[in-house]
Symmetry: C2
Subunit: 390 residues, 2 copies
């Protein structure tokens, strides 16, 4: 475990929100807990499991909080994330990604054995015969008989990893089933490209196609004599469709926890739970000119791959526009008709465009209770898997 | 000091380059040292000081290496970066940015005293009367008589921080000079907006205007009876112009050390030293389809604020195009007429679009000697100020 950083993390339990040093990544714990409850209710209502993606929060503490609320475990994207969360007590992990390197596959096999020994389990996605053969070799080398769950990833529209739906997936499922220490667990069918389609209709058709492709592939695999235990996928942008499909048995959505500015730009689905923003960058105005002011948060404080942050808490007529000021600055211009530039020294709150890579910039999250205006720091949440890209 | 990470940093001295786990941030030490030598020669030829910006490398080890080659110290953008580099032995630091928060100004005053006590110095930029007053108050509270160097930041074209060139700057210089523990050190006049203008002519005119504005402001301040000790600024994109100006006495350029893919997109200045790429992301192909392959480096491994990475080491006819695959994936398509998709498991080298925020994603740099094809790891360089945004 990494020690909690101190030199530039001056926030501690009991500190008033207005005294938190800037820029800082702050979680509104009340809002986060409301989001968790909304998701738990939604999954229960639809009778689906939920395995929120920990690539968002990268924190064992939060993964365990989600499990306490009903989540069946956590997804991760990288082996090193799985290792960090396992070290923090998370027992049920799915690496929703392919691994090809021999050293990593050996670590994977050891992690699977370690989790099994304490009553947990590890799952991995594959999309090639080579990946299956290398995994089986590593599992044999590690010598554990606990085995590992293996999902075949099918490409249901994103055009990234995964074999095409259909016969290629059948061949991979059969190959997995032939290996002594691998268990064919089902299909990983995540449509990342559909999450940020703006219109309700676009997202609905994209997921309808994904559902049809996944169901068709399941039929073919089952016709070959292999039961498909689970079809897993879905993100915050589309989860209402996968949940209602009767085909997906597990939702991987993670972003509902914090809600990116970019998800808020999607046209709202009426069936979608009313998730709210719960992750903010606190920033201070450090320079004030006649035409603009400059705050101390740039893209080393928040990720901008899905657009720039929004300035939170202003009515539309007083809105400010955030413009990119480089690594360490944001430039704020008046946008609403009655917008006034904030004074030098004033604190502002930003909603990050994309929460996952924003969290990954920070060693810890500052958990605040009682709101952004008058709350206090309740606890510091360690980002256990920060920088865990391998 | 943070301990060196271990779980997901498996590279150690002596490891062959082809065995480094992916994705990994790798410095070609030979290329970096050639870049340092080119910069040292260039600065000597033009008779200017160089104070490379450490917001790029965030490493005390590299800052000291640059000083050994002739650099007069380091620039940083944030106080916490200055603290981290000072803890690593760097003695001469300029925070080329504004600080307004009382807690940070007190830390600034303490750092100034600490550096002075060991024969070093700290400098800070200001662009408001409020900033000067608060700094003076913090310096009085800290009670050290060593003082602090203060530069007035003027906006020479970027439209971010800094007062307009001219009379406002004179008033600030006079205000600094009146304060017991502040020393008016000169003008900070960095034109960030000019660095990535593509054409040689555009960059030349932008810097000609900046030089004129800085010189005019100096004349006004000196007419008011205050000597202007130094005009400091310049980045890797424009340094040939500031160096030749006779007005700028110090170059802040940092990126020459590693050379971003985006700087390489600039039209080359004939007078510009032939800086070469020295920072790479090593990545592996983890999924292979008929139309594309997917590698294990996404924007959690490299920053994409200045464009996507380039695939290194391929001749134009075999070029591959890197497309954004999200946080943890890159998607590679054939681009050159004879391009062939790399096989599953194959290692590739990426040149990051923007090195500064890329380094900030990683806890350490893997320093390689002997080239990317057949070299070995010589040493692990700690990114001391990773995440230091306050």
């Amino acid at each position: 475990m990494k020690p909690l950083p101190d030199a530039w993390g001056s926030a501690a339990a009991g500190l008033r929100v207005d005294l938190i040093d800037t820029p800082a990544l702050v979680v509104d714990l009340d809002a986060m807990e409301r989001n968790i409850q909304r998701m738990a209710d939604f999954a229960r209502k639809h009778g689906v499991r939920w395995r929120p993606h920990a690539k968002l929060h990268k924190s064992a503490e939060i993964a365990l909080l989600l499990q306490k609320a009903g989540a069946c475990g956590a997804c991760v994207q990288k082996l090193s994330e799985a290792e960090a969360l396992a070290a923090g007590g998370v027992n049920d992990l799915f690496i929703s990604n392919e691994i090809l390197a021999a050293n990593k596959l050996l670590r994977t096999a050891r992690l699977a054995a370690g989790l099994a020994a304490r009553g947990g389990r590890l799952a991995l996605a594959v999309d090639s015969e080579e990946g299956i053969a290398r995994l089986a070799e590593a599992m044999d080398k590690a010598g554990s008989d606990a085995g590992i769950d293996v999902f075949v990833e099918i490409d249901v529209g994103q055009g990234r990893c995964g074999v095409p739906p259909g016969t290629e997936a059948v061949a991979l499922a059969q190959s997995i089933a032939r290996r002594h220490r691998l268990r064919f667990a089902g299909l990983h069918a995540y449509h990342g490209g559909a999450q940020h389609l703006r219109g309700v209709g676009e997202r609905r058709s994209a997921i309808a196609a994904a559902v049809a492709a996944a169901a068709h592939t399941r039929t073919l695999i089952e016709a070959a004599g292999l039961p498909v235990g689970l079809i897993t996928g879905a993100g915050t942008g589309t989860l209402v469709h996968e949940a209602a499909s009767g085909v997906y048995g597990e939702l991987q959505a993670g972003s509902f926890l914090f809600m990116d500015a970019d998800y808020a730009r999607n046209e709202r689905e009426s069936a979608q739970p009313a998730f709210e923003h719960a992750l903010f960058v606190k920033t201070q105005v450090i320079s004030a000119r006649a035409t603009h002011v400059v705050c101390d948060a740039g893209h080393k404080s928040h990720a901008i791959d899905s657009g720039l942050p929004l300035v939170h808490g202003l009515p539309p007529e007083r809105a400010l526009r955030f413009a990119n000021g480089g690594d360490e600055h944001g430039i704020l211009y008046p946008e609403g008709p009655k917008a006034r530039l904030p004074a030098l020294g004033r604190m502002l709150w930003l909603v990050p465009g994309h929460c996952d890579p924003t969290v990954n910039l920070h060693d810890h999250l500052i958990g605040v209770r009682g709101g952004l205006a008058h709350g206090v720091v309740e606890r510091i949440i360690r980002v256990d898997a920060r920088g865990a890209v391998t």
